[in-house]
Symmetry: C2
């Protein structure tokens, strides 16, 4: 008998590219704001600090990032940045929200292979409209028994979600790129995790830990790994 009843998949940077879009917007922010910043100010670090400060109130996602950019632009420049430059932040948000989904390699065939013998659910956090649009336009929604867009990927959220879907945590395996959000909270419930790193990781997802779990170099390795369990 297989070890797992249900496989959970993260979405951003696990099924499709996401963090590279934020990174490109951060770089554009630094370019736009540096001319108005006093010498010696670390523009990128100040933006990240603003995001960190706002996380509890604003939550995850592109719109929160946009509001933090607006705030940081004015703070860093001491109000010297023209409002026309600030308005560009809104356009950066819009472009990111409207950008077509860019799937990672191997995603459709891996989901087809894993889903042929197992229940699968998608668990993603972030902006409700952005995540919904990405799920529906990705053409992948039909693979998943359920799509869950959650506020925070903590043990409490996973526990509630697994209970609601009548899933035994010890027979659940979560697949994702973030150790902090996809792996550690599931392990803490007695579940399993497969970490598949993405080349870049958001500063606020970095975590120190001494847990042991499986890491695969590519999503393409997942079906064979599961078949051996």
């Amino acid at each position: 008998m297989s070890m797992f009843d249900v496989i959970g998949f993260d979405a951003d940077d696990t099924l499709w590219h996401s963090e590279d879009g934020f990174r490109a917007n951060e770089e554009q922010f630094v370019e736009l704001i540096t001319p108005f910043a006093p010498d010696g100010v670390e523009v990128k670090a100040a933006l990240t600090a603003t995001e960190r400060k706002n996380l509890a109130a604003f939550g995850y996602g592109v719109k929160s990032f946009g509001l933090s950019m607006v705030e940081a632009a004015v703070t860093i420049s001491g109000g010297r940045v023209p409002s026309t430059v600030v308005a560009e932040m809104v356009e950066m948000v819009r472009a990111q929200l409207e950008e077509p989904v860019r799937l990672l390699d191997h995603v459709p065939e891996v989901l087809a292979a894993v889903g042929s013998t197992r229940r699968m659910i998608l668990i993603t956090k972030g902006d409700l409209i952005h995540q919904t649009h990405k799920v529906t336009t990705s053409g992948l929604a039909h693979h998943f028994e359920q799509v869950e867009i959650v506020l925070e990927k903590d043990p409490e959220t996973y526990a509630g979600l697994l209970a609601r879907h009548d899933i035994d945590p010890t027979r659940f395996c979560m697949v994702g790129n973030s150790v902090r959000s996809d792996i550690l909270p599931v392990l803490s419930l007695g579940g399993h995790g497969v970490h598949i790193p993405y080349p870049i990781l958001w500063d606020l997802e970095h975590v120190e830990h001494d847990e042991h779990f499986v890491e695969l170099a590519s999503l393409a390795d997942l079906p064979a790994w599961l078949d051996r369990r």
Copy 2:
């Protein structure tokens, strides 16, 4: 036998105040931006038009409203508004997100009365973090079998949600302040609606229709109305 198996409740402006907070921020926006607007520009109308334009990309909620304020401030003023004034929009968003929930009259006792003999679900649209915070801090979450935060309250969304919870639409009754979002889509599925108007309605929720449905002056009238069905 009762006519209904499940009662659905809207949240914003049905269980707690919401639109008055947006209205207050709109008025503050008009005060802040009018000094920088050319004579003859309708500042409030331009803001609403910006919100309408952005709805499909940004979705509902306070953060979308904030980004639309930033965009409209710069557009209306032709870039003459100082960025320090634009940064106040972010603070308005933060204040609205962090404001304690203000329950409408009679809400706890009505939910206790209705819930004593019926299943109840909460169905709300808007910002994921804002709606979640309001639900959890309201002290009302325990009344509801399920809390659903949705992207759009259209027939498709209601149909999917009712199917997922195994609810017969003809034995479902939705209670809310918005004819467009709470009543018409449920009627279109063969369900029932009880309209309880709130003193103010967002421009984008206005709808023309010739449907007939029940309207109650106050949520306090709901238990007796349900008991007669």
